[in-house]
């Protein structure tokens, strides 16, 4: 039973990161109808920036801020100089450009920083605290959970309570009508990519110190897991991304804990396949409403 609780807490902490990363995917999907396959590589690139700043200043928090800012800038840049120009020819072109971007970013990171692991120290203790004899969360896990959930809450507020959030939603759902109502749809698209990459950068900074280490491929499996989480939740739904992230985190934690870590990547694929077969729209899909 103790082991079960440990795995549950561990799964929730990992799930929070998947949730944030899945949310980044959902943000772009909603804004542009593209799955950004370069999300993982972009997050690694910003994590390198973040840890370069940590190394130079000695402050984790400055590094975190730098990574998020780099994410915002990188997202805007990718939309402005790449996606905008391949977009009109169809979403498949954007997917292929995103895949190309993965290779490019990973190659550049390898050339500049080397392909080896670089140390990525955590800002808090990563040893689990014991509560009543049960090993629960570590201080770092608490920080990860808190940070991820705060970002999710802030994004929810941004989208539902602010004028710019309303503009972004309208531009995503009905670009032409939005333009007629004075919404600069292109700018909203850039903002959507920037926000998504910023959230991705944060998720990357949170997940890299949890045993992954910093190297050009650090986010490859995380991306697949987060993509699974986003699909589980329904690519259209931010709530779905969060629930899907936590759910996938829990499932993987149990699988890893009871069946061994070798089965984790397999479990991800089985889960992805099962969701696509049984409920292709995801648990929270709004597909019904879209037929109007």
């Amino acid at each position: 039973m103790q082991r079960f609780w440990f795995l549950t807490f561990d799964g929730l902490a990992a799930g929070a990161v998947y949730a944030a990363f899945a949310l980044a995917l959902v943000l772009i999907w909603r804004a542009a109808r593209v799955v950004n396959f370069a999300q993982g590589a972009m997050a690694v690139a910003t994590a390198y920036v973040g840890y370069a700043v940590v190394g130079a200043t000695g402050s984790y928090w400055l590094g975190l801020a730098a990574a998020v800012l780099a994410g915002l800038a990188l997202g805007a840049l990718v939309e402005r100089v790449l996606m905008r120009f391949v977009g009109p020819a169809g979403p498949l072109n954007q997917v292929i450009v995103a895949l190309g971007l993965v290779l490019l970013v990973q190659a550049v990171l390898g050339m500049v920083f080397g392909n080896g692991y670089r140390p990525a120290p955590a800002p808090f203790d990563t040893d689990a605290l014991t509560v009543g004899g049960v090993a629960a969360l570590s201080p770092y896990d608490l920080w990860v959970l808190g940070a991820a959930l705060t970002v999710v809450a802030l994004l929810a507020l941004l989208f539902t309570r602010t004028p710019v959030g309303l503009r972004m939603r309208a531009a995503a759902f009905a670009p032409e009508v939005s333009r007629l109502l004075g919404v600069s749809v292109g700018r909203m698209l850039t903002l959507g990519w920037a926000l998504a990459a910023g959230v991705g950068a944060l998720a990357g900074m949170l997940v890299v110190p949890t045993g992954l280490g910093l190297h050009p491929h650090a986010m490859d499996l995380v991306f697949v897991v987060a993509f699974t989480a986003a699909v589980v939740g329904g690519l259209d739904s931010p709530v779905g991304a969060v629930v899907g992230g936590l759910l996938v985190g829990l499932i993987l934690s149990y699988v890893t804990g009871y069946l061994g870590p070798d089965t984790t990547p397999l479990a991800v694929l089985v889960l992805l396949l099962a969701v696509l077969l049984v409920r292709p729209g995801g648990l929270f899909s709004a597909a019904r409403a879209r037929h109007v």
Binding site: L166, E176, V177, S178, R179, L180, L181, G182, V183, V292
Partner: protein, 238 residues
Amino acid sequence: MTAVLEVEALHAGYGPVPVLRDVAFTVPAGTVAAVLGANGAGKTTLLRTLSGLLRPTGGRIRYAGEDLRGVRVEHLVRRGLAHVPEGRGVVTELTVAENLRLGGLWRRDRADARRARDEVYEIFPALARRRDHLGHQLSGGERQMLALGRALIARPRLLLLDEPSLGLAPTVAAQIMALLRRLRDEQGLTVLLVEQNVRTALSVADQGIVMSLGRVVTAAPAARLRDDDRLRHAYLGF
């Protein structure tokens, strides 16, 4: 009377397919003009070209004396030109209140945007009752009211309306036409109305512009189109 909209030798189309050919007409300020014609006459294409969604391949559009070439679509509403597109004007994933808020987001005069919204709720009480409902939960008539009301929040000078009576109960259509008449008479609103339903359109219009296969075949006072049997038979088929 000054013209709010002057169209000269307008050509437009989709890719290599020309749709509008040499279209010309004038809409004086404070009048309602109805664009009439069969399916495929180019009526919707005309509105889309006027509001910049489609780039003209030739000719000139002057709005309030100003050439609209090079003005971005999203800036037109700030100049008082509102376009209610056919059918899909409502953002169905947003609530009624959010749709209306969206219509006034660009306005600096926040107080007047709120006033305009309250007026819309007064004109269409059905919207006030359903303000927290999503767009796709509304009936066809309510959607049309919402799309029209949202355009009015901009306090437009020129309103482009595409098939406002399409699929509506006759009483709702009549209500919308009465509203257009009132806005014209009380606020001097200029309206360019595209309609399949000729009788409905001529009940409110001052001028009828009849299109066929992308050309304007006749433009005449609405009263003449209504009363002149020869014109009516030739162009409107009833």
